[in-house]
């Protein structure tokens, strides 16, 4: 494309509005305005220059901040709608199909909500698409501006074209002034300006790096988004759950049986008087307040073992897993997520003669691992015909409501020397059912209780990427927000001078700073041409 040569001699890329070097106005439209649009230094942006091919069109679409803002606002609204009703992913196991659930619980609104897919807003393809478009828009938008802006700021000269100066928002001029550049330089330096003086022209500049803030923060955002996408790459993310009861040693799921864990004890504590008088009111008000959930564990690594062989365990360490204190090993983290207290682990029964009360020995049934047969010697024995962990009568037939041992019941066959074919009995908690009149019974002795700890096992290799993105984002954000890019130009000409100032934000503070610097000098204080304009309007 044809380059544009300015009268100062600098060759600018095609599409340049203001000469990169001297600021002369190369664009007819810009020349007619009272003030210049300084946002990208009048540099040649691809989106403003080309509009031919389909790529140009896509590029131009996404490089528009207007489009970016619209995308952000649409995402914002979708996000808000998604918070009106609970998302299906938070509801757990539903008793009925989801569409029915929403309609039953929230009426016509729930029906519509489901119909439009808001029941799964944040996991839906269109939500991901919105986020992805924001990402694309961010990248294109930044490239479109950052590179030309960088060139323009790098090429700028101290001496500026008068057309450039008098179209700045802060501007003034004076005839017949003699400028003492040495003192002025000192004063500017005190305010941390970099001062360049060239043949009666002055450029004072500070905070240019803040101009890169938005681009840095956009890069951070992109890295963050990429990190989030990595979750879908196999191997980056493992999410498992482990129920482990006290005394048990299990392989940690998701680790390929590389690591084993023993649960020694699960601890559940609540606040009481010993925690101090200050909490008394709150505890009285709320009843019970949990203080600690903790699992005392030992972690082992396992040698590779053949299937069916007991693995060889090597202790790595003891640890107390608490909420906010996960156990970490090799990228994996084990979190204290849940618990079940006082579940029946085993039940002990005595085979008893109903009449005499004589006992022939106890059997202990481990509910996780019930045996078929229990031999008591001397010809006495018990067969376990059936076991219902969570017993219920359904349509007159015994069945189990779940696999959790909440209400265990057993069908026994009691074999004794005098009844070698055995007597049947059915024993649930607090209840014995006999089909025929029996001589013997299974008398409940004790039950042993055990606590289960629920641990989330998580491997998340996306975290470092996400963290780096977050840090870069914050740095860029601070860079662009806490500092401003301020420039002051002075040009002497024919015994008089022009002075102009530009900042990318916070004009009030900038104006005040110039005024302070120029006090006690003969240089005219620039006038805010925009405020004047505003005042004319008012």
């Amino acid at each position: 494309m044809n380059k544009v040569k300015c009268e100062c001699g600098h060759v600018n890329p095609h599409g340049t509005v203001l000469c990169e070097a001297c600021g002369n106005i190369l664009d007819e439209k810009a020349r007619q305005g009272k003030l210049l649009d300084m946002r990208y230094e009048g540099s040649a942006r691809r989106s403003q220059t080309y509009n031919k091919t389909i790529i140009d069109r896509i590029w131009n679409f996404f490089s528009s901040v207007k489009v970016g803002v619209i995308l952000i606002v649409i995402t914002l609204i979708a996000t808000a709608i998604g918070s009106i009703l609970p998302q299906v992913s938070t509801l757990g196991q539903l008793p009925v199909p989801a569409h029915q659930y929403y309609e039953e619980n929230y009426g016509w609104f729930g029906k519509l909500y489901y119909f439009f897919g808001f029941h799964d807003t944040y996991g839906s393809w269109w939500y991901l698409l919105l986020i992805a478009s924001i990402g694309v828009s961010l990248v294109i938008c930044s490239l479109d501006r950052a590179i030309p802006l960088y060139k323009a700021l790098k090429n700028q000269r101290v001496k500026r074209n008068t057309n450039f100066l008098n179209r700045q928002r802060l501007y003034n001029k004076a005839e017949n002034v003699e400028i003492d550049f040495t003192t002025l330089k000192e004063k500017l330096k005190k305010k941390h300006y970099n001062v360049h003086i060239d043949n009666g022209n002055l450029l004072a500049e500070k905070g240019r790096f803040s101009r890169w803030g938005p681009y840095v923060n956009h890069i951070g955002l992109i890295i963050f988004l990429i990190g989030c996408m990595l979750r879908f790459v196999p191997g980056f993310y493992i999410n498992e759950f482990l129920w482990i009861k006290e005394g048990e040693t299990l392989a940690i799921p998701g680790t390929d049986k590389q690591y084993y864990l023993t649960n020694h004890e699960f601890i559940f504590e609540v606040y009481d008087e010993s925690d101090g008088e200050v909490f008394r009111n709150a505890i009285e008000e709320k009843g019970m307040i949990a203080k600690n959930f903790q699992t005392n564990v030992t972690l082992y690594s396992a040698e590779q073992s053949l299937p069916g062989e007991e693995p060889e365990l090597e202790k790595i360490k003891d640890y107390e897993i608490q909420v906010n204190k996960p156990l970490k090993i090799d990228g994996y983290a084990l979190y204290q997520s849940s618990y079940r207290l006082n579940e029946i682990a085993s039940m002990t029964f005595a085979l008893t003669n109903k009449e005499t009360g004589e006992s022939y020995g106890n059997i202990t049934i481990d509910l996780n691992n019930p045996q078929k047969k229990y031999d008591l010697g001397n010809g006495y024995g018990v067969e376990l015909l059936d076991y219902f962990p969570n017993f219920q009568m359904k349509d007159g037939v015994p069945s189990t409501a779940s696999q959790d041992p909440l209400n265990p019941a057993f069908a026994f066959k009691m074999v004794t020397p005098d009844r070698p074919e055995g007597e049947r009995s059915f024993a649930a908690i607090q209840q014995t059912i006999e089909v025929t009149e029996n001589k013997y019974k299974m008398e409940f002795q004790t039950a042993e209780m055990v606590n289960y700890s629920g641990l989330t096992v998580r491997l998340d290799n996306t975290l470092p990427v996400i963290a780096i993105g977050g840090v870069i984002f914050l740095i860029g954000l601070a860079q662009g927000s806490f500092w401003q890019h301020r420039r002051i130009w002075i040009k002497t000409e024919k015994g008089g001078c022009h002075i102009a100032g530009h900042t990318n934000k916070n004009w009030y503070g900038f104006h005040k700073e110039i005024e302070k610097i120029l006090s006690d000098t003969n240089i005219p204080i620039p006038i805010d041409q925009k405020t004047e304009k505003n005042q004319e309007k008012e």
Binding site: K66, V69, V73, Y122, A282, K286, V323, R458, G470, Y508
Partner: protein
């Protein structure tokens, strides 16, 4: 220690009240408020005002520290503590902006809002609550305090924006803008109504208990601190000689809270009507003369500057620290909990604000409206999402 702490909060409250009057005085003198904004002379009244504010701020910090010592953990773990801390941060942000821009008029609005916030906070249970396991983390104070600081600075942006609107919206014509601005004033009055009605009945020790059938179909009880206008699902009044509810609501409402909201609107509306009847002016019209002298560009810059400072701090506390903590305590950094969702919405909103301002040139009035709406979202998150949509964060 706990008692000393409460007393310090009360003292801070009184000092802020007096400081407001001095800032008001600073405006009345109409000195140094002229358009030449580079040579602002600070009046004596404003000097006293800011000095008192700083003393109040220190006493307020005293409240915070003593409560910290009493509780043994940072007092930012329930609604009362959070809002009192938030109000402390608003004062801090105001002081910061005051020294950047020397604007007593900001105090005339910021301090009353602080007073309302403290009053609002005091309506919640002031018990020191022990921390449940997930809250027992260094990230609790880091996350909550940083978020509160960011939101407080954004609150200053709201206040500057509000003053800008009061100054510029034409009161002579019945426009949508005039109506919207007055609506904001009305909402502020409703919050005052909430404080008035709640403290009145709390002073009278009003308490009524209902038995009701909850969503799971179980019998449960619910306490009312205000006479029941709306009652719970299949509720029966257990407390003798208290008001019976006028209507009954379905089971998926927390009727006690809905009831409080209705009462607040009733009380707020009555106060609002009384003010209108007595002054024969809209509230925004009434305060307009107070701010007519202040420079609009200055307000605009304060509002924008506060967003520029507040947005990164809010991002750090409300999103970044929140994610780090969630990763440690809840096993994942993001769970789409309603509170998180609304923090994200807030963040999107201010991002849109900054882009609109930077590239669409939305300065002045448009920018002021955005600052007001943004703070509305923050308040929505604090009040509505906390109380109505309960998630991981459900305080109280």
């Amino acid at each position: 220690m706990a008692e000393l702490s409460s007393n310090l909060l009360l003292i801070a409250f009184v000092i802020y009240l007096i400081a407001t009057l001095f800032f008001g005085g600073a405006i009345r003198q109409k000195k140094g408020m002229d358009e030449s904004h580079y040579k602002n002379k600070v009046t004596l009244s404003a000097k006293i005002g800011i000095t008192l504010t700083i003393i109040g701020f220190i006493v307020h910090i005293g409240y915070f520290i003593t409560r910290w010592i009493a509780a043994g953990h940072a007092p930012v773990s329930n609604m009362f503590e959070f809002i009192t801390f938030f109000s402390l941060m608003v004062v801090g942000a105001f002081i910061l902006i005051y020294f950047l821009y020397h604007t007593p008029v900001l105090g005339v609005f910021a301090l009353p809002i602080v007073l309302i916030l403290i009053g609002y906070a005091s309506m919640f249970s002031r018990d020191i609550t022990p921390l449940i396991p997930p809250l027992r983390s260094i990230w609790l104070p880091l996350h909550v305090m940083t978020t509160a600081a960011g939101q407080a600075i954004l609150a200053i942006s709201f206040i500057a924006g509000l003053i800008y609107l009061i100054k510029t919206v034409n009161q002579a014509e019945a426009t949508r803008k005039r109506f919207s601005l007055e609506l904001i004033m009305y909402f502020i009055t409703v919050v005052i109504g909430f404080i008035v009605i709640t403290s009145t009945f709390s002073f009278m020790n009003y308490e009524a208990q209902f038995e009701w059938v909850n969503k799971e179909g179980e019998l449960s009880t619910i306490d009312y601190a205000l006479p029941a206008l709306v009652g719970p699902n299949e509720g029966t009044l257990l407390t003798a000689s208290k008001m019976e509810p006028l209507v009954e609501l379905p089971a998926n409402f927390n009727t006690s809270r809905v009831n409080t909201v209705i009462w607040s609107f009733i009380a707020g509306t009555i106060i609002y009507i009384l003010v209108r009847l007595i002054t024969r002016k809209r509230i925004s019209q009434m305060v307009q003369p107070l701010v007519s002298k202040i420079n609009g560009n200055l307000l605009d810059e304060i509002s924008y500057r506060s967003v520029l400072i507040g947005f990164p701090i809010f991002t750090l506390g409300g999103l970044v620290f929140a994610m780090i903590w969630a990763q440690i305590a809840w096993t994942r950094f993001w769970a789409w909990d309603p509170k998180e969702v609304w923090a994200l919405i807030t963040w999107f909103f201010y991002a849109a604000f900054l882009h609109l301002r930077l590239s669409r040139g939305w300065h002045g009035e448009k920018s002021a409206w955005l600052a007001v709406i943004g703070f509305g979202i923050i308040m929505f998150n604090l009040i509505f999402v906390n109380l109505v949509i309960a998630g991981l964060h459900s305080y109280v």
